[in-house]
Amino acid sequence: MIGCSDAVRKPLFEGNSMTVKVKFFASLKEQMGCDGATVEIGEVATAADVWLQASGGKALPPNVLVAVNMEYTDQNQTVTNGDEVAFFPPVTGG
């Protein structure tokens, strides 16, 4: 939890910043040590940038799925102030 919360408080980007809500689920949540955080990040950022910020610089695992505002997308999508960015492993319902 603490590692996660620490990371989100250090903006990596200069200039105007925005705030996005980050969520982790399932095994990724356990690996990250928290279920998400609020991240302050530079104004022009992709989901991958948000991941880097929230994870404290860890590489995005290759099979992680990305959703912005509850819609599937990929890590290259640009995010906007107030967005909810979720990262999670392959789904296993049903």
């Binding site: 999670f88 789904v91 296993t92 319902g93 049903g94």
Partner: protein
């Protein structure tokens, strides 16, 4: 159309019977020719190990949106009369139902195809995650769903 994501255990055949009696038949009296259903149940084994229990995590909000989208897509692709989808979340024990998909239509082809398609779309897209409780307090996340075709 009814979509339920809920922690409480449920009885799928009772749910189908009740929904058909209270909603489907009154809405389309004499027009229903076919109903195809699928029920997924928790087994006590997986990948060669005994499984004691399961935790089903989901992404509240996105799960319901994605399920709704799957049902809407099915409704656009096939001529259906009604659909009922129910999915458990939270703590489950072996033999408990996990998921129910029920599809009503005039003709069987549509019901069969839509029911299977909805299940496969759910398995590949709906944000649910299974964590299995194994012997000795161990647990593991299910890494991927088995192939459905």
């Amino acid at each position: 159309m009814r979509l339920v994501v809920d922690k409480a255990p449920f009885s799928p055949w009772e749910s189908v019977a009740r929904y058909e009696r209270e909603v489907v038949t009154p809405s389309f009296p004499g027009k229903v020719g076919a109903a195809a259903t699928f029920v997924g149940t928790m087994r006590d084994f997986n990948e060669g190990d005994e499984v004691r229990g399961m935790t089903l995590e989901h992404y509240p909000g996105m799960t319901e949106r994605e399920l709704q989208r799957i049902l809407d897509e099915a409704g656009g692709r096939w001529t259906l009369l009604d659909v009922l989808l129910h999915h458990r979340v939270g703590e489950l024990s072996p033999q408990e139902p996990i998921v129910l998909v029920a599809v009503w239509s005039a003709h069987r082809k549509e019901a069969f195809e839509a029911c299977r398609h909805i299940m496969e779309a759910l398995k590949s897209r709906a944000p649910f995650w299974k964590k299995e409780q194994l012997d000795g307090g161990h647990h593991r996340w299910v890494e991927k769903n088995s192939d459905g075709y």
